[in-house]
Amino acid sequence: MLEIKKRYVIPGDVIIEGNYRPLMNVIKKDNFIIATRIGIAESSKDGIKVIPLSGVYIPRVNDIVIGKIIDNSSLSWEVDINAIFSAHLPAQDVFGRDFSPAKDDMKKRLAPGDLVTARIITFDRTRDPMLTIQEKDLGKISNGEFLKISSTRVPRLIGKRGSMIQTIEQATQTRILIGQNGILVVTGKNNEGIALAFKAIRLVEEEAHTSNLTQRVKDLLNVSEDVSQTETNNSSVNNEDYVNNSYADNNSNDIKNGHSSNNNIESNNNIESPRRDSA
């Protein structure tokens, strides 16, 4: 039920009048729904929300993020996840229940400066986020090129069912790890591929809210129309793609890069191995 067409809003704009449920980045005052951030307003059967176009990453439970170890205390590592707070990775998570600072050396496993892929297990108003790396495909990242984008562009970079990121990966022969916090790690066989992937990612980041982005990315990568079969009718992609992939809807919180197709996940912890192309 789309009473409002998808609209650009700034803080203080009245989106709609009436008894609707406020979801993300909106407030309800008297009988009006008012936007609180710059973004695209969207209504769905659950209510009204605004998909933001700027802002620092705010951690959410179950998000996959890429973080950098900054420091460690005797019982946990402090991890910078490019968010409003830094996160903690408890030593027990890595070493196991019988961890003791006396006999296990934390720095041997993870030293300051290392990058890790982790999942946020807790975060609320009273404490800092806590991470875990004890799951499939999580853990220390041993090589790759590091890139930071705005966390609000991540859904657009992933694309509908992973279409955008797959296009980039296939065309440049690289593997791209995406954290919901806007940190990316790109690994690939040759440097030109990696450089081209960077360019494509920057293009998506700068023009995330514009229409026909998929076509422009494909032009940049010199990809022909019939390469990827996961693309549906994408010749005139518009804001539909962007808003449909807002992270609230994106329950395909897949380990690597948010694809909802489960059979693409590698079942190994070795992040360097090249991904096979989807059949």
Binding site: P11, I27, S54, V56, I84, S211
Partner: protein
Amino acid sequence: MDQTILIDENGKRTDGRSIDELRDVKITIGVIKNADGSAFIEFGKNKIIVAVYGPREVHPKHMALPDRCVLRCRYHMSPFSTDTRKNPAPSRREVEISKVMREALEPAVMLEDYPRAAIDVFVEVLQADGGSRCAGIAAASVALADAGVNMRDLVAACAAGKVNDKIVLDINDIEDKEGSADMPVAYLPNLEQITLLQLDGILNESQFDECIEKAIQGCKKVYEIQRKALIEKYFGNDLPEGEEKELEENKEN
């Protein structure tokens, strides 16, 4: 003893404006790459740059509030911003304006959304020509929106004053020094609420009402400029046909 003619026979002021005319305002967004949000405003001859960092962790930790965010503002004038060198150390006026600016922005920012965090707003005046606190507030509000901080509304600000017994809008430096009253006002345009009201000078009751009224009109004009700058930066060239018409209609209203 030659007195400066503040309003001449034709009703023109020292810089050629009429009584109800706002100076030229131009806002550029996203000028500081390291900051989470930033804006540069040219309000007449004022040139002010604002950077917003946050929400981010509070250092020192004991200053963090458990249920809401801390908003910290610093208003500072560069030594070269006025014609005689201004001492870089914060003066009492700058401390006052920092406090007043924070109080003007706080009602607009939804601080409860970011407990235990801090938002830092730095306002640096590069060239001052009267009304810099209003210009600073207007730019800070745009920078906060650019940083993605949740806000109930933008904050627009404008000053009005009394010159030669006439109430004028947007006084510049000369009119500030030689005039008889200066009233900066900050206003939430959609919620229609005032968040800053100061008066420096003498006004009787009817002049006071007229002055507030004029300042609020000025704020509404500044709001249009803020809005246009934000929309251009974020949605600039990609507005579909319908949206553009909507913007035009909104401006006419």
